[in-house]
């Protein structure tokens, strides 16, 4: 029970924890305000309890596929928010300015949504097993250990990103946000497969190489959306969403580079 609790909690916590640490560290590096963070935490906790407590009702929506659709919807929303956030991070890197209200709202929403998605599953898990005779100590002990490992990874990752120069942090942050966002689209595809809205299948099984339930597997799941037995539709959506986001980031970066070149030329000319 303890080990099961640890694995489930780590799996749920790590993804949101990495997302928080990457976004917060980039905000620090780019001198952006972080006052929005407390609101996103409050929103995440409230959303987790709300969605978790209404799980039965949500599941019965749309002919019994409500939970899958809500989950997939949240993932797609997070992907779009991350696309916008990377875009704005690059803008702030090349042209530092205070964050506007829309940007702050998107930052708040993305973390609140990520927490809601993961937190609601933790809420349901804890609620379901708390009355079992073998629960109690092992359930809550395992949860604390899972939370502890998730928090530690998040904190160390945050300081690790801060240890780089601004340009390298931005590069690393954008790459990781791209892989995480693509991973979320992969999970959204999985939800749609479960709802029979996308075709199922199995391209390969890499569990023998790296078990999805292992700590390394969980880390890769959170960072790059590692899936040991992906379906063709999942892989396709993963590739398309990843390439789209990478393309947008590179295009925005190139746009600013080309704008800067004439300015630099003018400076040297003067």
């Amino acid at each position: 029970m303890l080990l099961t609790s640890v694995i489930i909690i780590i799996r749920e916590v790590l993804e949101a924890a990495f997302l928080i640490s990457i976004i917060l560290s980039l905000c620090v590096q780019l001198n952006l305000t972080r006052h929005w963070f407390k609101w996103s935490l409050a929103g995440g906790v409230a959303g987790s309890i709300a969605l978790g407590s209404q799980f039965g009702w949500v599941s019965n929506l749309f002919g019994g596929i409500g939970q899958e659709l809500v989950d997939a919807g949240l993932q797609v929303f997070i992907y779009l928010c991350l696309l916008y956030i990377c875009f704005k991070f690059i803008d702030h890197y090349f042209k530092p300015s205070g964050s506007n209200a829309t940007f702050r709202a998107i930052l708040t929403a993305v973390i609140a949504c990520a927490m809601t998605r993961e937190g609601s599953e933790i809420y349901i898990y804890l609620l379901a097993f708390q009355d079992l005779p073998e629960g109690g100590l092992s359930l809550y002990g395992g949860s604390i250990i899972g939370f502890g490992i998730g928090f530690s990874c998040c904190a160390l990752f945050y300081y690790w990103i801060l240890s780089f120069s601004v340009s390298r942090s931005l590069l690393l942050g954008c790459v990781l946000l791209t892989t995480m966002a693509s991973g979320m689209m992969l999970q959204a595809a999985k939800m749609l497969i479960q709802a029979d809205l996308l075709p199922d299948g199995q391209l390969w099984d890499s569990n023998g190489l790296l078990a999805e339930q292992s700590l390394a597997g969980q880390l890769l799941y959170a960072l790059v959306g590692y899936e040991a037995t992906p379906a063709p539709a999942q892989l396709m959506i993963y590739m398309v969403s990843g390439l789209t986001m990478a393309g947008v980031i590179i295009a925005r970066h190139q746009y600013w580079r080309h704008r800067q070149l004439p300015e630099e030329a003018n400076q040297y000319g003067n």
Binding site: L2, P133, I149, S152
Partner: protein, 442 residues
């Protein structure tokens, strides 16, 4: 702004938590495997005991059990001859040795043992959920302290990091409290070696800065002192020139005015240096500000009279402990300013007012006054209101109020500026602290 203490607390606690929790999980897995092994050994020992029980002493009625562990005993013909009450009638396990099976709505750990001596087969099974729960309960007892101790560890790390950074906080406190003109070296007892380079570099910088200020002070003082003799000689030669060339009096008079101005500048520079609070040899004595003001007015009365200015001293005696020479210069400079910038026929007032918390000396006039922008600059060295183009046409060197500021600082007095009486002109107020009123020497 990032906090060093928070960074150290969070990163150390995170590493501690990560390492401890992963070690605890590893320990949990190993302990569970070891507990499984022990339970299997117990099953084997019980099977051995049961297999050696003689069959003739057994009745066919099922033996009572606790539902956690059941057994079956088969004779050499493979017939079930004895079982516990909750054991099924059929073979529990198909395979020899240890295996896991499902019956009675639970999963069981089963051992099938064949006794080659008497041909008996023993099947003994234990409920897996119960043995797992028992093992986990025992192991969790050793993991719980790892989790519980973390808040204590966080508190200790917070205190230890705070203690480690104490020297840094001490240094920050010393620098915060340091006066702007205090360039003395910073010393901290038991300075950690990590902080030594910072303190050494800072003290070296302060020393160089102090030396540089001292050189600047000495240079202006020495230069002024060295200029006194040639200026006196020029004055003497000018006097002779007046005698020898009376037809050039106009030019010589202009030259004489400029030399007087130069002599005044040199005297003021010397006074500025001498009245620096750091090295002024103050001799505090009981004196009356009103009497001192009276003396200065009497000595300069001819000048005030020549400009038809009215001057009066009002208020009380204003007895304080002060340096007579310095206060005389201060009053002289304030009155001189009022005299220069007040128009012909204007009035100048010296008001002395002894209150419970200070003795206030005010020199006010009904002259043109100064703008708020200029007020912030009048104490700057060599700053002159309006420069040489001031409407009063008076000359000066812009050091008078800097000297006044030095003398006020020497007496720990405060200077302020406001409009004169009726909102006209300018008033300088010098407030002497109560320590000077009640006879304590600073």
């Amino acid at each position: 702004m990032s906090s060093l203490r928070r960074f150290l607390l969070v990163s150390i606690l995170s590493v501690l938590m990560l390492v401890n929790f992963i070690a605890a999980l590893h320990g949990y897995k190993s302990s569970m495997a070891e507990a499984e092994n022990l339970f299997d050994q117990k099953l084997t020992a019980m099977a051995l005991q049961l297999s050696s029980v003689p069959l003739r002493s057994q009745s066919n009625s099922p033996a009572p059990d606790d539902e956690h562990m059941v057994f079956q005993l088969f004779n050499a013909d493979g017939k079930l001859v004895w079982r516990s009450v909750h054991a099924p009638d059929q073979y529990i396990a198909a395979n020899e040795g240890l295996s896991e099976n499902n019956f009675n709505d639970y999963r069981w750990r089963t051992l099938s043992y064949f006794n080659f001596v008497n041909g008996h087969r023993i099947m003994i099974a234990e409920r897996m959920d119960l043995r797992y729960r028992l093992a986990e309960r025992v192991i969790l007892e050793s993991i719980v302290p790892v989790v519980v101790v973390l808040p204590v560890a966080a508190l200790l790390i917070w205190l230890i990091v705070g203690h480690g950074l104490k020297s840094l906080a001490l240094l920050a406190g010393i620098l915060r409290r340091k006066a702007a003109d205090d360039l003395s070296a910073v010393n901290i007892d038991n300075t950690p070696i990590e902080l030594m380079p910072v303190i050494t570099s800072m003290n070296s910088l302060l020393r160089r800065l102090d030396d540089s200020f001292e050189r600047e002070r000495r240079f202006s003082a020495d230069a002024a002192h060295e200029l006194r003799t040639p200026i006196s000689a020029i004055k003497m030669h000018l006097h002779n020139l007046h005698e020898e060339y009376p037809e050039h009096n106009s030019s010589l008079n202009s030259l004489e005015r400029d030399v007087d101005r130069l002599a005044h500048l040199v005297e003021q520079m010397l006074l500025l240096h001498r009245t620096t609070p750091d090295h002024y040899p103050a001799k505090f004595e009981s004196l009356s500000l009103a009497a001192l003001a009276g003396e200065i007015i009497a000595a300069n009365y001819a000048d005030f009279s020549e400009k038809e200015q009215t001057i009066e001293v009002r208020g009380d005696e204003g007895r304080i402990n002060g340096d007579r020479f310095a206060l005389r210069i201060m009053l002289q400079n304030l009155l001189n300013n009022a005299y220069k910038y007040t128009q012909r026929g204007g009035f100048i007032k010296v008001i002395i007012d002894t209150g419970p918390d200070s003795v206030r000396l005010t020199v006010s006039d009904n002259g043109p006054g100064i703008s708020a922008e200029v007020k912030s600059r009048v104490f700057e060295r060599f700053y002159r209101v309006g420069g040489d183009r001031h409407a009063s046409g008076s000359s000066g060197c812009g050091l008078g109020l800097s000297i006044v500021e030095h003398i006020a600082e020497l007496h720990r007095a405060t200077i302020s500026m406001s409009e004169g009486e009726g909102g006209i002109g300018l008033a300088f107020k010098v407030a002497f602290p109560p320590s000077l009123i009640f006879g304590e020497l600073p």
